[in-house]
Symmetry: C2
Subunit: 426 residues, 2 copies
């Protein structure tokens, strides 16, 4: 029997009515002849409510106890979903992450999955039960402590279960219709991508697209699990994330568009270290300081050194939430590194153009920068990968920039169909 793993996020489980709707959806998949295993997040805002409670009790709660607390959220939602399914006449078993065999390392709050030993899940599926698993949580291999996988971890739980169960597909249900060529709230003409490669999805997720959690895409790529991102509010097909080539009815490989989409990110800040002595090792000292303070650094730019002074400026971006920590850590080494000052700027935006097709298509950069220039957008930083170009702009021009680039690459579409450039035939 085919095995389907589904994931429902908190926005799909906000109240009793939503839970009953999700239960009907799960029952349909079972009725269609599948073994069905479902990973669920905590209901609506309940995780935030638990965080608020913790904050009232202690400013710095022990991470072990924080994980114990937060995992109650998925326990509640999984039991309620199971009840709603039972009410439809299906047999069902819910399991915590620990019971489902989600084995992690012992980094509370940001544990990584080491292994999945889904014996109880498999037994229950074999008996014909629908299985509901608490997302976002596991149990540590060494210490048998309850752990959580960090924000968005339920996507990863679902993909990991799909891999361990040998599922045919992992369906990620969310409150949007799939992955779009840009955020439809900013670009009304954005269209749903029907199919995207894992590597493109990885770049989009890393560049600010919030539809899928980055780690779940990495996990899916490693174990070659196709992900189907779709809406829990409609029956429409969503976006398939996979590296398997698509074939048309005629047996030909479908031509992929050059560009998958445009992502944007407002969550970063820029730190500029001004007047750094242009000697070998100075950049290393700066970034070691950031690493020691556990700052996640994204883009880095170093100015050309002004030869008359022997000084240079180094700018980098990091999550706004790490910004003040970063500035304070750097201030402490100002003397020893010997730089002049620190500038902090959280009014920036990042725009990323992602597409596997740009590998084999020259001229993408030219089109990209012309579109930004024509819109009057000033570029402050640039970073590229094989299949991505990212720029940092002022925050207040980011939306205009996203729309301009989206239009320039012919991604705007009224009819909902992808504009195919002819291409690399991946």
């Amino acid at each position: 029997m085919p095995i389907v793993v589904q994931k429902y996020g908190g926005s799909s489980l906000a109240d009793a009515a939503s839970i009953k709707r999700v239960a009907r959806r799960i029952a349909e998949a079972k009725k269609a002849g599948n073994d069905v295993c479902v990973a669920v997040s905590a209901m609506g805002d309940s995780t935030d409510e638990l965080l608020d409670l913790a904050n009232e009790v202690s400013p710095q709660p022990p991470p072990r106890e924080m994980d114990m607390l937060l995992t109650a959220g998925e326990r509640i939602s999984m039991a309620l979903v199971a009840m709603a399914i039972a009410d439809l006449g299906y047999t069902v078993r819910s399991f915590t992450g620990s019971q489902a065999g989600v084995i992690t390392d012992s980094s509370h709050g940001k544990a990584r999955i080491i292994d999945v030993t889904p014996g109880r899940v498999t037994d229950a599926l074999d008996k014909g039960h629908i299985v509901i698993v608490a997302g976002f949580q596991g149990v540590s291999q060494d210490t048998k402590e309850i752990t959580t996988l960090g924000r968005g971890g339920t996507d990863t739980t679902a993909v990991a279960l799909a891999a361990a169960l040998g599922a045919d597909v992992c369906e990620i249900y969310t409150d949007v219709d799939g992955v779009f060529t840009a955020d439809p709230r900013i670009v009304p003409a954005a269209r749903k991508i029907s199919r995207i490669s894992n590597e493109e999805m990885l770049e989009l997720a890393a560049s600010g697209s919030k539809v899928l959690h980055l780690r779940s895409v990495e996990y899916a790529r490693r174990f070659a699990i196709p992900i189907h991102v779709r809406s829990s509010f409609s029956a429409k097909e969503g976006t398939i994330v996979t590296d398997t080539p698509t074939t048309t009815n005629a047996g030909d490989t479908v031509e992929a568009p050059i560009i998958a989409g445009v992502a944007h990110d407002r969550s970063e800040a820029k730190i500029t270290v001004v007047g750094v002595p242009d000697h070998p090792g100075k950049a290393a000292e700066i970034f070691q300081t950031c690493a020691d303070a556990e700052i996640n650094i994204d883009m880095i730019v170093q100015n050309v050194s002004a030869t008359e002074t022997g000084l240079t400026d180094i700018s980098f971006t990091c999550p706004k939430t790490d910004g003040q920590t970063g500035v304070q850590a750097l201030r402490k080494v100002q003397q020893s590194v010997g730089f002049g000052s620190i500038l902090y700027d959280d009014q920036i935006g990042k725009l990323s153009l992602v597409g596997a097709g740009m590998r084999s298509h020259p001229g993408v950069s030219a089109t990209f920068f012309k579109a930004l220039a024509d819109t009057g957008v000033n570029i402050e930083m640039i970073s590229t990968s094989e299949i991505r170009i990212s720029v940092v702009t002022r925050a207040d021009v980011l939306d205009d920039a996203v729309r301009a680039v989206h239009t320039a690459f012919g991604l705007d579409s009224a009819d909902g169909e992808a504009v195919v450039y002819g291409g690399s035939g991946r």
Copy 2:
């Protein structure tokens, strides 16, 4: 190092401020040189809120999933209590019932503890940590499923942990100062009992006193664990429940009062089966019907048969919550048993006088019934044990009856001291 087990109920854990207060109390016990293990209930009304949610999702939720849901409540409170303790500078570990080794049978919703294997608790105590355990829950021996012990189960968790750890005392913290000679809301002159025997406490708990859960008292008696019932809102000594004789400074056994207290209960209803053929086996048929419908029967009275008709009436009491189920079950056997009709009455009250001293003191019944008669209270049913007399009255005279009996046995006290009758010297 002495081991102290404490229990805090939901009313002591209603919000962040209460949780911090409880944490300070727990820390004091640790600071005083004890190993401290604490069982906690869910916060305030949170169990009821979870029940409401379940009810919105399904009218008849599977008991397994109901247990999965409800156990989230204690998980939340134990993690928050642990955080508050850590904030005071103590090291602390919280454990679920399953992690703490609370092994039960597999009766979801009303599981009984079979064994306690507190290896993780002992390890944590040995390392100097304060241990917080989720009350009310365990894991089934055969199926490794999460179970709950039923309402008030956290008392039982605490006593079971105390027994398994070899604790010196099990302190049950609640929102009253201890066990009283009567409910102080009804009898303002009721006084706190400083010491009471297990068997008296059992009778009081079975007769409507809500301070301690009946099963926890049974458990404590079996394993000879002294219970100290006291207020989480004050430092006053509460009530010691134990079978160990108390000795005075002079080495004499303290004389126990004849009467421990007066309990009352408004939670029962009376069902009367009218016109039952007075043949052997008819009563058995009626009570087998109730047993099959899982009705818990308390008091039973059968009228003297009217010889001219050969018919009798049988009345019994049961929880109001079972009342309609009982009536419906009996209606179905009306033909086969051959009785005339069924009367249902939920406007009754039960009053119980409890005291180990009444064994050796004649005249207790006479004083008891005279007090009720003088107050004009009509008695509808009577039942007795060796150390208890219970009567059923109209609900609206119950309070007057409790006050009259309390006064008649000299339990009213302004100075808070027990009235000692001289006595059996247990």
